[in-house]
Symmetry: D3
Subunit: 210 residues, 6 copies
């Protein structure tokens, strides 16, 4: 009888090695497409694929922005591939800043775990700024694709987790996009209204050329 039951389940579950797609742990060595990475063979998947331990340790904030973002996106944590969400750890030393940026591929939800953070975003429809100081336990949502920022507004290090509605939300930091590559100074000036001296100064700071 039990064999019969197994027979049924076998018929349903096991008639193909690729069977049903409960999950699709990304295999970064295979071709990938618009929907994400190809799936690792289920027979090689273990519980360790579903656990990511890199967010337990503070990132190194000894840098220009006194901030560190440690992502668990699909490239770092392939188990989120195809599941529509991901997470990152955000460490902000005193005076730390996550500069103005946007995520092309998803909305963001931040929860403050330690310290206090001034966070805000700018709407595109009416160019209005929405910002507020958040304390431990406060959660704020940043709608997809809009410019936003986070600043440590307290006297102690701050810690937050940020989650996204995509396994690969992307991250475009405005200053880095404008001044950290070889986009010619003249084009930067004309498309941002900034003056030449400012553009050149920031190119020097952020590693840009041209």
């Amino acid at each position: 009888m039990i064999l019969s039951l197994f027979f049924i389940f076998s018929l349903i579950f096991a008639s193909s090695s690729a069977a049903v797609q409960d999950f699709c742990v990304g295999d970064l060595a295979l071709p990938y497409g618009p929907a994400g990475y190809s799936c690792k063979s289920p027979s090689k998947v273990t519980v360790d694929d579903f656990v990511f331990s890199g967010l337990g340790k503070a990132g190194n904030t000894s840098n220009l922005i006194k901030a560190a973002v440690t992502p668990a996106f699909a490239p770092q944590f392939p188990a989120v591939n195809g599941l529509g969400l991901s997470i990152a750890r955000l460490d902000l030393a005193v005076e730390g800043v996550v500069p103005m940026h946007s995520h092309p591929g998803g909305s963001e939800l931040l929860i403050v775990v330690q310290g206090c953070i001034c966070a805000g975003f700018i709407s595109s429809s009416d160019n209005k700024v929405y910002y507020k100081t958040l304390y431990s336990g406060d959660t704020m949502v940043f709608p997809q694709g809009l410019l936003h920022f986070q600043i440590n507004s307290g006297n102690t290090a701050a810690l937050a987790f940020v989650t996204f509605s995509s396994p690969s939300p992307g991250l475009q930091i405005t200053a880095f996009a404008l001044f950290g590559n070889n986009l010619p100074t003249e084009l930067v000036e004309r498309t941002t209204f900034l003056d030449e001296a400012e553009v050149k100064k920031l190119k020097a700071v952020l590693g840009g050329t041209g």
Copy 2:
């Protein structure tokens, strides 16, 4: 003139061997991803790919649950790959039961063809049970991911077809998930409120260990 017309159509249709994606019959040997299987080369696709003949014959109901589910999901019927739907045949001998289960990946629509079936589901929002006896020609819809069941409530064998809003809806039978694997008895007890004796009894019946 006709050549010219063909020229236009060629320009549109034939400039790539992968051309337009009318369909994507799954090739189970290629890598697959979150959106489904890779496509079989259209040049090798014939009408037989679009036809599945396995649902014409009753499944074997000589088993513990006196029921048989014969699926035509993407692994069995690769033509549904990427098309957002699939089907299965459900045979219920007298006293047959499809135990409490859910489909992680899609909603279900059942139509009774023969006999009568008591079917129901439980909502998550208010924990309410919706169940009813269905007769030949009756159709019932089971919203995505919710626990539901079907029982032959008549004196004759029952036959139904169940269709899904996904080519790979998945199927998780609660009892099998709880008692048919090596999830330690203590964890089952603590997460289900069942007592040890019951858990051990069902592990024995359903092939579980630990």
Copy 3:
């Protein structure tokens, strides 16, 4: 203790009357949008909303095409609203035909329950015809938006169920679209290559004017 447990569940489930969206039975009297109908208040939903009994009876095939399609789409069966699938009953008397048509909004899966049906579709990428005679228990899938047809190819009435990957798949019968309205004869001629006499004849048969 049980009160406490209820308290938790209440917090989760009941803090809004609109709560979680397990389902969204359509309320045809409210505004509707691109994703479907507005939801009927869950407090007014009963099991009868999830059951549709109209497919148990043969449709009337005493008509030009000796066929009848009885739909359980969202307008007839509002419980499928938002769930991504629907169903219809197809009756074909001897010599019955479902004329060449397409569904703008979804793929179709047909299962023959009685009789035999010659069914086919035409791909857009290479203009190839895929057709076959189907017998009881055979299932065939018709990819979204492509022209297809079904003809009773046997000596007895045929019965099939057709399911769709959308609650509102739509149905555009080519002949009816071309000849059953006031599209001027000259425009029909020029866009179909048919001659005037043929267009006028079919307009007369199918109720068209102009």
Copy 4:
């Protein structure tokens, strides 16, 4: 000149009061549909709509399961409406348990902030259990619709945040669904393989009848 610039932006942004949909803060008093709540008028939206402060305080774990889930789903935090994600706080006292459950509408990502938690899920394709003990900073992902659980496996209270790939993921606790309503005892027995005594005992504990 500035007026001219404003004129351009006005043309783009302001020609409709409903303008562009940067966000759609839910208005729980309006009709809602399969895609979520209707939007609150943008002119009434303030930064406070985007901030939820309810997750800073431990939930009350003085209950049967020594656990508390505090959700910030669309009904509680209407700013996540339409944005594809949500969050909840999970408090587990010593011996606390989130019983076996599933989310019909989304995948879950858990991050441990305090204590240690044994968490796991059961796949539907091969009925395999994936479970592990997680420590502070560990993140685990639970694919959509699959049964999973969390247990405090340490000697201190545990705290985690759980995020979802949907603003309304739903939550169906298996034991509560089976024993906490009026699903007749006989139907529970037949669909779960549990014996009558066990079903009646749990109905008594979990508030079920019938």
Copy 5:
């Protein structure tokens, strides 16, 4: 300091060669699936991948329909792969016609750049014809999957661009689908109500057999 900043960005951006999916320029040589082509390695992508120059030149309208459609769909312009849109150039000589057709995979938006075009579509829900003469600068939208047509209604050549809500919208020209392949004459007759002579005549014109 700059090194530190680079370190952060490296951590985010560069920990995988497949990194974040800003875009997925199709690689037509790799396997492809329901969501589109596999992505070309970003390291081989240049600005030229994002630019398509084939729409600057009039198509050859010396053909039966005095029309030419030059597509920049995913097969011709792989940069649109996964981005949800595509474009084509439409040239209509005097008396040129784009015959009745539909796009199985997307909606269309046409903008007239030169000349005047009579364009229309037929709804499926009420079989109503919506058509109008469009002049330079006019835009018309054709909802997904519905039959529509365009005719040069002026005395000069007309030019339009047509864009689609899919990188691979497909194109099914009704007359070509009915008469340009080996679908047996009898099946065409029975599924279209056309008479045998007409079917045979058009099969001859459009290259059909059978």
Copy 6:
């Protein structure tokens, strides 16, 4: 007989006034949600709803940026509601510029109709700039959410049409978002690395305060 045929079609098409959703012309006066506007009653829809004539006339480029964008997005052209695409006209006088901006809700495809335009975007994954001078007939695609710009690089006025993969793509001009509102100068400085004088200068130019 024709009555019978009509009876079938009536059964299918007309059993609900809201029938099948071929299209959903937005009614801006009704509630709207994450998927778009509510639908205008089909009985009030005419062909004029599907035609937008506002793109035939050059926008006024007598402004700071010597550019004009004339949108036909869902608020201006409600017929695109729910159809997944929209369009706008772009006029660039000599030296005209569309400043650095992004579209939170969709990808963009530009086609040059007149003049020449230097256009580019910046990837988020590797901060690389992709830019090129485009001539009449050239098409360029800008992936969703990424910063991009267009500049008239010729000696004559330029004209282009830009289409989007969303009926409401949004438009966030970086300089306007940073300097054209009341975001405090100090926050702008800290989140962009710009110095105070520059921020104040641009706030003055672009209408910002604080």
